[in-house]
């Protein structure tokens, strides 16, 4: 087997808050192969987006920093790379699309200018060549009448079209990794289906690996091969999507799957009460403690969980769970 495209090892990202330093990412390791698609799942405040920002070198200045661990991209260490080098990598090798396409596009430039900007910065294309590519890209993300729409401003487009523009910008330089941070949360389901379809097509054409961040297990099942369930900045469980949905080995993943009323193949008359994951994600102050941080919400909790942080237990097929009771789940 060839070396993975991206290898994150024992990553620890710290944020400085009023209450001191909190590890928002705590000992996270994972690998991403070329052309693979993985998904980060979890509630807000579990460090999904922080991981993405860490990889991109976009942690909030002076507040967040990579404290230890390594992010290895195609043999190159990113956690210690200079800002100049990171600028070259961002947009060229690794690019990112965000949740709210309206706030991530610049309202005073046409979409064509914003797509062309990436190409001119990274590939030294001439103005005319970049503009021509921008039209091609808009066409590739299936915006009808690209020739004319390229001169539109973001406000002239619908939410779904803006997200397509974001995808065009992100894929302009044919990156090896595309990070999609909740790319469809702000969109309607039929538009979400179109965007997923487009992302899958683009992945096939360009061979880019996709990291998708989401809280929707359904979306994970449709889009990803492997998933990483995150909780309080830690890896709760990771492994193949089908396998985890079929048999989660961590009470948190189990809760995340069971708490949502999913649409099944055949609807039956009976409606069970939804499984609740009681309580909420603990505050940043709790992060980093040497115990299972899910213990306060877990129905399988024992003394051991409160005394020591659980190690990762491996199962068949590359499934891993950080739970003292993983075997019993």
């Amino acid at each position: 087997m060839t070396a993975p495209l991206l290898k994150v090892e024992n990553l620890r990202i710290e944020l400085t808050t009023r209450d001191g330093v909190a590890p928002v990412i705590d000992d996270l390791s994972f690998e991403l192969g070329a052309g693979e698609s993985i998904s980060f799942v979890g509630e807000s405040g579990c460090g999904k987006s922080m991981t993405a920002l860490g990889i991109m070198g976009l942690l909030p200045e002076k507040v967040g920093r990579i404290a230890s661990g390594s992010i290895n991209f195609a043999g190159e260490e990113l956690s210690t790379a200079t800002e100049k080098r990171m600028r070259e990598i961002r947009g060229n090798d690794i690019s990112m699309i965000f949740q709210e396409p309206m706030t991530s596009l610049n309202p005073v430039y046409t979409v064509g200018e914003q797509i062309a900007e990436v190409l001119r910065a990274h590939q030294n294309l001439s103005k005319a060549a970049a503009w021509a590519s921008a039209i091609e890209l808009l066409d590739a993300v299936r915006i009808p009448n690209a020739q004319r729409r390229v001169s539109d401003y973001p406000f002239q487009m619908s939410g779904g079209q803006r997200q397509r523009v974001m995808i065009a910008i992100a894929l302009a330089c044919e990156p090896k990794i595309l990070i999609a941070d909740e790319p469809t949360t702000a969109l309607d389901v039929t538009v979400q289906a179109q965007i997923f379809d487009l992302l899958n097509d683009m992945k096939r054409q360009t061979g880019a690996a996709i990291i998708m961040i989401t809280h929707d297990m359904g979306a994970v099942a449709e889009m990803a091969e492997r998933m990483i369930v995150m909780y309080t900045g830690r890896n709760a469980e990771q492994g193949p999507v089908e396998q985890i949905i079929e048999h989660p080995r961590h009470p948190y993943s189990k809760g995340l799957i069971a708490c949502v009323p999913h649409i099944m193949a055949t609807l039956t008359e009976e409606r069970h009460e939804l499984t609740e994951v009681a309580g909420i994600v603990p505050s940043l102050r709790e992060f980093g403690k040497n115990q299972c941080l899910f213990a306060s919400r877990c129905n399988m909790v024992s003394q051991k969980c409160l005394d020591q942080r659980p190690p990762e237990v491996s199962f068949e097929g590359g499934q891993m769970s950080a739970c003292w009771h993983a075997e019993a789940v």
Binding site: V189, H215, G218, E222, I245, I257, H262
Partner: protein, 335 residues
């Protein structure tokens, strides 16, 4: 004791239009019909969902039912009286019977008012009961929605999103309403917290015999919560059916597409459903087509669809569809 009719809310021909300023001083006023002639009924103790995507008019319809926006025409019959015709004191008293839970628990609670006051406010406004009794009601409500008595003195910012939504629910329950309108009550919450609120709503419904008008875009939630569903597209109801019929035999092409777009964890469903992508965008609401409003995106549209607007017809008992291609055989044109 009077015999209460089975139907609690009967909405007929409800239309809401907004004036859009266009043209010069002498230009004709132009109207946007956000809700165009819709009718539905909710039986006492049941839940009706209005589903649709952004811009379909589902929230406007709910606001019009509660008289938070003005209806242009139609009737909203709540337990025998037309809610839209009431004025002044009568209206104020009638509002006690119909309460609203809002989407965003962050902006729907006054940040400068303590939780207990927020929950008591509807009672104070309606001057119902003695002062001491009101406090007793507030205590009971806090317990019913799963908040601690000592949390009554806190301000909204000291609560989490889920807890705030519980305050919103307690406030809606304060006047012992018959009908509660829930406008996307969980879409602003984290998935694990959503389950807590949905379970709470169902429990309260069983305990107090509540009737819900439930507005949502999330079909999974709707499937779990509702007895009857109205699917809206561009201000019109395109399909109206009970829960089992709608989810197991969707007939309108839009409903079929909408359902097929929902990602699922069920392997069997993923294998069975063919995803129907509907290209393009909905038509301009100011310049609606003459025929079916879905025709330009419909994969099976025929000539007639762009010429003639379909009416909502009952195809089987309790299952209404507005599509030229659906008849009594109740077979979806896409299958």
């Amino acid at each position: 004791m009077s015999i209460k009719s089975e139907v609690l809310l009967n909405v007929e021909d409800l239309t809401v239009r907004f004036a859009i300023k266009r043209g010069g001083m002498f230009g004709k006023p132009k109207y946007l019909y956000a809700v165009d002639d819709i009718s539905f009924q909710i039986k006492r103790g049941e839940t009706l969902a209005i589903v649709g995507e952004s811009g379909s008019g589902k929230t406007t319809a709910a606001l019009a039912v509660a008289r938070l926006v003005e209806a242009y025409k139609g009737t909203v019959d709540l337990d025998g009286t037309d809610f839209l015709k009431l004025e002044d004191e009568e209206l104020r008293q009638a509002r006690a019977k119909m309460q609203f839970i809002f989407q965003d628990p962050y902006s729907s609670l006054n940040p400068r008012v303590r939780a207990e006051k927020i929950v008591r406010e509807p009672l104070d406004n309606l001057e119902s009961g003695a002062e001491e009794d009101r406090q007793a009601i507030v205590d009971k409500l806090f317990e019913a929605v799963g908040l601690h008595p000592e949390q009554q003195r806190l301000f909204p910012h000291q609560f989490s999103g889920g807890q705030r939504q519980r305050i919103g629910i307690a406030r809606a329950l304060a006047t012992q309403p018959d009908l509660i309108i829930c406008d996307e009550p969980v879409s602003a919450l984290d998935v694990a917290v959503q389950a807590q609120i949905l379970n709470l709503l169902r429990k309260l419904q069983a305990d107090f015999g509540l009737t819900f008008l439930f507005i949502s875009h999330d079909l999974g939630v709707v499937q779990h919560m509702c007895d009857t569903i109205a699917v809206m597209y561009m201000g019109k109801v395109v399909e109206y059916a009970d829960r089992m019929s709608l989810f197991n035999n969707p007939l309108h092409p839009y409903t079929v597409a909408l359902l097929s777009a929902v990602p699922s964890v069920d392997k069997k469903r993923r294998a069975e459903t063919k995803r129907i992508l509907i290209p393009g965008d909905p038509p301009d609401p100011l310049d609606l087509p003459k025929g079916c409003r879905f025709a330009n995106r419909c994969p099976v549209a025929i000539d007639r669809c762009s010429k003639e607007q379909p009416t909502l017809n009952e195809v089987t008992e309790g299952h209404q569809v507005a599509c030229h291609l659906v008849d009594e055989r109740a077979v979806s044109p896409l299958s």
